[in-house]
């Protein structure tokens, strides 16, 4: 046995499948469980943050999802899909419950793990005025996304923010591709409407004619 490996644990092959890891985890292999967690936590967390708008809620949701995997690993049926899709499904249920309880709890400006803001990219090479403008715009878009009905919001989150293909999003949400397309279309239209861009359209059109 190699150094650092506790009794009962084996080394993790990075190419080992989720199902194999889950079996090992079920037998008490903590490394296998940790590997599974590290593989799936980030996309689940992002999905939860973008859906709930709350880093705190997202943390709770991710923790709940993996707690379920620790306590009831048999809930996952290999024949019904991938572990990733299953975890997304569980996360989605938790998110929907959270949204039912707290429909207007959104603030993505929460502090990250080390105390700094989660999104430092926008702070670079900007004048204060430009930064303020972008920040305001960003807030408007974020608010508009958060105000979308959950079913449209998740389509927008997966396809526009997470940049999944329609097929991937359909697989994740366990619904037909056509459903994703229509929800996305409605979501986009609602976003444009919420951002009052649609109201500007006639003005612009008139201006271009003039």
């Amino acid at each position: 046995m190699k150094a650092g490996v506790t009794p009962g644990e084996m080394q993790i092959d990075p190419h080992e499948t989720d199902d194999a890891l889950l079996k090992r985890s079920d037998k008490g292999d903590e490394r296998a469980f940790t590997e599974l967690y590290r593989r799936h936590q980030a996309p689940l967390y992002r999905f939860a943050v973008r859906m709930t708008g709350s880093a705190w809620a997202a943390e709770e949701i991710v923790q709940d999802v993996f707690m379920m995997l620790v306590r009831e690993p048999k809930k996952y049926d290999v024949d019904r899909g991938t572990l990733g899709a299953f975890l997304y499904g569980v996360a989605r249920n938790r998110i929907m419950k959270h949204l039912e309880r707290a429909p207007r709890d959104f603030s993505l400006d929460e502090k990250g793990d080390a105390g700094h803001e989660i999104h430092p990219q926008l702070h670079e090479q900007m004048t204060p005025a430009r930064w303020a403008e972008l920040r305001e715009r960003r807030e408007q878009v974020r608010s508009a996304v958060m105000e979308l009905p959950p079913e449209f919001r998740e389509a927008v989150v997966l396809c526009e923010l997470e940049e999944m293909s329609y097929e991937e999003a359909a697989h994740t949400l366990d619904c037909p591709v056509g459903t994703i397309r229509s929800r996305l279309h409605r979501g986009r239209a609602l976003l444009l409407a919420k951002l009052e861009m649609l109201r500007e359209v006639p003005k612009r059109a008139n201006a271009s004619r003039g």
């Binding site: 940790t34 936590q41 689940l44 943390e59 923790q63 960003r138 878009v141 976003l191 649609l198 612009r204």
Partner: protein, 241 residues
């Protein structure tokens, strides 16, 4: 998409058709004919061109919003909590399993111990009984194949009812006249109750004053069914005398 599928391309694209699917213009899965018609419509329709421009701006905003959180992940405390929970759960399961195995092992050991102890106790008890007093067993008097003895002592046998077989190995037997001492393994000691007078039938001398007394007698019966020797147990002698 339905709008894309239904679009025939023969006539120009309408604003409705563009609004339905035109925002997906740059998506890789969009049909070439539809794309061409949509671009043409954009050139001709300022309203849809403005809508498309707004959408492109919004998509860029969404991309930035997505990029802002693209690196975010759950805080490390979540992993710590989960690993703690994992350890607790599997430790508990392991402990429960060990306790279960230990419990069953103890129960099996206890059962085995008691079984061995009971067998030993039974064996010792049997041996002690054999030492202290004869081991009696009631057997019915054989009537189907009467022995010469029973024929000779018919009145006595009929009065006895039951015959008691006593354990072998006791001494103090008096050989009956004209009989040979049988080998111990071939002989059976039979305890019977009879009138003292019946001993006369076996060739023994009987005091006439006590001829009517009921006494217990041990008969040493050979494998031929004939009594070979007789013994009057001490207790019977005392009670009858």
């Amino acid at each position: 998409m339905q709008a894309v599928d239904e679009f025939d391309g023969d006539t120009g694209m309408t604003c409705e058709e563009f609004a339905t699917a035109g925002l997906d213009l740059s998506s890789p899965g969009i049909d070439g004919v539809f794309q061409k018609a949509a671009r043409e419509h954009l050139r001709e329709c300022p309203h849809c061109a403005a809508l498309h421009e707004n959408w492109l701006a919004l998509r860029e905003d969404l991309r930035v919003l997505g990029a802002e959180t693209s690196e975010s992940e759950a805080p490390s405390r979540v992993e710590m909590r989960l690993r703690q929970e994992f350890r607790t759960k599997h430790k508990t399961v392991k402990t429960q399993r060990t306790a279960l195995i230990l419990g069953w092992s103890l129960a099996a050991a206890a059962a085995l111990f008691f079984a061995v102890a009971w067998v030993n106790w039974q064996m010792h008890r049997g041996m002690n009984l054999a030492k202290t007093q004869p081991n009696f067993a009631h057997v019915p008097v054989s009537t189907g194949n009467p022995s010469p003895l029973s024929q000779a002592n018919a009145p006595a046998a009929s009065e006895l009812g039951d015959v008691i077989v006593a354990s072998n190995g006791s001494g103090d037997f008096t050989l009956l006249p004209d009989s040979m001492p049988p080998a111990p393994e071939d002989a059976t000691v039979v305890r019977v109750q009879m009138q003292r007078a019946a001993l006369g039938g076996l060739g023994l001398t009987v005091n006439e004053e006590h001829a009517g007394d009921w006494i217990q007698v041990d008969l040493l019966v050979g494998d031929d069914g004939l009594p070979q020797a007789v013994r009057v147990p001490q207790t019977a002698t005392e009670t009858t005398n």
